[in-house]
Amino acid sequence: MGKKAVISGIGESRLGKLPDQTMLEFTFEAAKKACDDAGITFQDLDGLILHPAFHVSPRYHIYMTEMMGLYCKTYCDTTQMGGAGFGAALERAKGAVESGQSRHILILGGEKMATGMASGAAMMASAGAHNLDFEYPFGATVPSYYGMLAQRYLYEYGKGPETFAQVAVTIRKHAHRNPLAYMRDLITVDDVLNSRMVSEPHHLLDCALVSDGAGAYVVSAQGTSKDPKREVGFLGFGQAQSFYHMAQLARGYGDHDLIHSVIDVAGKRAFGEAGLKPEDMDVIEIYDSFTSTVVIQLEDLGFCGRGEAGEWLASGIADPDGAQPMTTHGGLLSCAHPGASGGMHHIIEAVKQVRHEAGPTQAKKADVVLATSVSAVASNFAVTILNSAAA
């Protein structure tokens, strides 16, 4: 039996538009920074879990370790869970370290969505994540999937689109404090509602950015990094996956359907493992591909009641000076959404918060921090609760 696993290092490339760097350059830059942060070299790694970019080889994970000169690994794989893989990979890495399979596992992702693809192609690329035979022929794009989810939510709870706009407003308040965020100007609910309609009821400011960038973290056995006091521990994990076709998500099963997602199952497991409740979380890094993604999670995880996410956010509780600051780096909506590494930055930000190294976005209290990862129209989820490993 190995030792307890911890996050020993984190690394990020620059985020935003990076025309001067190739995808591989900035992806390895993030990898190097994460290893430096842990005080190890590439040669100390014996595991890699890669979040694959769109349109890469099925052996991309092997190829990437080859470029790093890692001839023999004892764990090397990809996650194919889309945005949910960022958290789910951590749970895999924890298991591999604690079983003694590997000593240092790098989790890595990066993508050149903004300057590496033809204009608009990022949206088309991700269509492959959804059904190509019974959905894409009807013109369904990623924003239209979330538009349908959002529309059903408004119908069930008798709400208006300002519920979703409030998410963008709250997250922008955090981005405003982050010099690395791409969109930093404060916005109002009206600004969101007056931005261009993309797919009803979602306006432009309800949708994530399209960015370049990479993220990385290292999972190691406790006490093996250069500064064990900075190691971050795992308090709780949960993951849950439902269906693929949106029509099947809508038809549902038992208590679950399109707007009653299975993240409640992932959440119950994570909170149960931690022995904590939603209100015990000091900071919540909620995955924010669309504003509706956030609303569904807040309600299904139990941060607020059904149909109440808009009011909960408007109360200021998730603001920078609120009791549970949310998505403190500015998220996919306002900081950056580099595809394959998009949600890694929520987990990286969670690590910074726990270490009290988040600088301008640091929350006053960040002993227990939750991060979520979501993909495929709110059908795949991972929930991670972190604290200081030394605590």
Partner: protein, 143 residues
């Protein structure tokens, strides 16, 4: 937003489905303007999309059965922007999940209406539109 000539996308440049043995009868019946879905011989569950196993009871026994073509809007969106897709100039498009009276839900386009006419729960009736000689999409219009 009111659109000229109602929401009637041309279907030009739409992505084409890959038709496989499991799904061929569905697309054939759509071409014939008489869509059939698989109804489970064991439990009576109507399933969509097509496949060999009942989603509800796991039975392999089924019969391709015509649907009434009547349903309701379970949810919908109107897509105004599809940049990067081959059909990007053929917007706006109303995309909806249609709950058939048989119980199955399928994604489709709701045609020949104004965006503001659309509401969840409205009754719809099936129609058809051909992308090409091989692929006809089942579409819906307000009843």
């Amino acid at each position: 937003m009111t659109v000229e000539n109602n929401l009637n996308p041309s279907l030009k440049n739409r992505p084409l489905p890959t038709i496989i043995q499991d799904t061929a009868r569905f697309w054939e019946s759509a071409r014939e303007h008489a869509v059939e879905l698989q109804k489970c011989d064991e439990c009576g569950y109507w399933r969509f999309y097509p496949g060999p196993v009942c989603h509800s009871c796991g039975s392999f026994a089924y019969t391709w059965t015509p649907i009434s073509g009547k349903g309701k809007i379970w949810t919908y969106t109107v897509l105004y922007r599809a940049r990067g897709n081959a059909y990007q100039d053929d917007v706006p498009i109303a995309i909806g999940l249609i709950e058939l009276e048989e119980g199955a839900i399928l994604m489709s386009n709701i045609i020949d209406c104004q965006p503001e006419d659309l509401k969840i729960g409205l009754e719809v009736i099936i129609d058809y539109g051909a992308i090409n000689d091989e692929v006809t999409l089942p579409l819906f219009r307000l009843a």
